[in-house]
Amino acid sequence: MKERNTVVRKKTKLADIIIFVLLFMMSLLFLVPIFVVLLNSFKGKFYISKAPFALPTSETFAGLDNYVNGIIKSGFTKAMGYSFFITVASVIVIILLTSMTAWYITRRKSKITSTLYYVFVFSMIVPFQMVMFSTVKIANMLHIDNPVGIIILYLGFGSGLAIFIFSGFVKAIPIEIEEAAMIDGCNPLQTFYQVVFPILRPTAITVAILQTMWVWNDYLLPALVIGNKYKTIPVAVQGVLTGSYGDRNMGSLMAMLVLAIVPIVIFYLIGQKSIIKGVISGAVKG
């Protein structure tokens, strides 16, 4: 019996080693695409399409030329600025306003609030193409086609998922706490921000992560609404080879891809645990 156990253990140990090697090779494979882009960002623009997997040689090495071209000459820093501003501002606005709305329509029982809840949830399944044309035209007419105005659109589009997630958690908060606060003289606004919102904090982090990933990477809405004047990172990247941004330079494109990935990787490495947790709970809810 004892002998058999060691045989089994040896077998599993060997299996574990094989699996480890397998997974290790798979993760290298997963990193190859990013490594190739990084590699090519240091090569001259004519050598990128010719031999994308070759390491830079003294002939093909371009130093930081691509970064200088891609960033300084084509003004990519501006694109990064717009992306940062729009993402941060939209996410803050979404969190503050939709949590209030979600709490209100969950606590106040009326036909209007329950209808609103269903309309918000319904909006989650509607693909953007359905409203694309009209939304863009309305944004033009209302003159919200600028980096500040687009926040209103992000609030509108983001509210479905945010309210759905927030409402689910508000339902789990015992109403007695809120009633006690109100009896003590808090008005609903004080009750919400002093009592309810602190309880909702973990949920707010989940919502913030999901919305950050969406707004930061969103292409179509900023391209159509503000793309002519204000290019966010995805819009700028898309414009390089099609000629609407920069100078159709493969080298600049590589540098931009690297710079587009860097903030995401930093964001990911800092908040990995909550990001994965947030994404899972967002998926399970949605």
Binding site: D16, F20, L22, L23, F24, S27, F30, P33, V36, N40, I48, K50, P52, F53, L97, M100, T101, Y104, R107, R108, F120, S123, I125, V126, P127, Q129, M130, V131, M132, F133, S134, T135, K137, I138, L153, L155, G156, F157, G160, E178, M182, P188, F192, N217, Y219, L220, I233, P234, V237, L241, L253, L257, A260, I261, Y268, I276, V279, I280, A283, V284
Partner: protein, 281 residues
């Protein structure tokens, strides 16, 4: 409490509702109306009845071709993403050294946006095809499999973490008991593990299904539909119809309505399946 709340509707609901109306409610209603109209701007529609819906099938078969390409792509990516993600999840729940690092690496591509992903893979695939003297847009099959690879790279890690969460919820005693009773590992997988993570399977299947079906950014950046619109998916076809040439906005809107109905149907089926499971459980 209800009475006090009543007065606060304006503060709590109106700001969100206003933005929601501008971004979604009004455009949605207009969108349905405009699909029955001829227009170049939202201010000049004339009612044409079902004209756009008829034109959509009669002018050319772009829409049908895009629909077929999208369906093929969706089926292949749902199967590949979920099978691979499940295998990864299974391997990462054995307590092997380095599990956290592997999970970190596999999940990372999920955070990168579609446009950036599309260009990364364009360079990569063109680099490989260079050895065969062709490019990504030489033949539709390259674009198709390119999209599959891209989608797998992006979605596997995401589905994997959901499967991991599901697998970790299975009580260890259950598997132990099954193994004591002499169940083979294949039997354990089929009779114990898979039924117990059924809800994870539903979630992952529908997430990949709707993400694949609605794919736009990656499609635009990887091939842009080339060659000859043969790798155009539905969302890109709708976009091209709207903004490609003037006079066809109505047809574009009609396509968008059909697109919405299909996506809505998928969501509805998912809701029914998960509801019935909750009742059973």
């Amino acid at each position: 409490m209800q009475k006090t709340l009543k007065k606060y509707f304006i503060i709590f609901v109106i700001p969100t509702l206003l933005a929601f109306a501008i971004a979604f409610i009004i455009p949605f209603i207009m969108g349905v109306y405009l699909s029955f109209a001829k227009f170049t701007n939202v201010t000049n529609p004339t009612w044409v009845g079902l004209d756009n819906y008829i034109k959509l099938f009669t002018i050319n078969n772009d829409f049908i071709k895009a629909l077929w390409f999208t369906v093929k792509f969706t089926l292949v990516s749902v199967v590949t993403v979920n099978v691979i993600a499940f295998i990864f999840a299974k391997l990462l729940t054995r307590g092997i050294r380095g599990t956290n690092l592997f999970r970190t690496v596999f999940f990372m591509p999920n955070l990168i946006g579609g446009i950036v992903l599309g260009y990364i893979w364009q360079i990569l695939i063109n680099g490989i095809l260079l050895n065969f003297g062709v490019t990504l847009t030489f033949d539709a099959k390259y674009g198709f499999w390119g999209l599959i690879f891209l989608m797998n790279w992006q979605m596997i890690g995401y589905m994997m973490v959901i499967y991991i969460a599901g697998l970790q919820n299975i009580p260890g005693e259950l598997l132990e008991a099954a193994s004591m009773d002499g169940a083979s590992s294949w039997q354990m997988l089929r009779k114990v593990t898979l039924p117990l993570i059924a809800s994870s399977i539903t979630i992952c299947t529908f997430l990949t299904l709707s993400n694949s079906f609605k794919l736009f950014d990656q499609n635009l950046a990887l091939t842009g539909g080339a060659p000859q619109r043969q790798t155009t998916m539905l969302a890109l076809d709708i976009y091209d119809t709207f903004y490609g040439r003037t006079g066809y906005q109505g047809v574009g809107q009609a396509k968008a309505v059909i697109f919405f109905v299909i996506v809505g149907l998928i969501a509805f089926i998912q809701l029914r399946i998960s509801r019935s499971r909750e009742v059973e459980g």
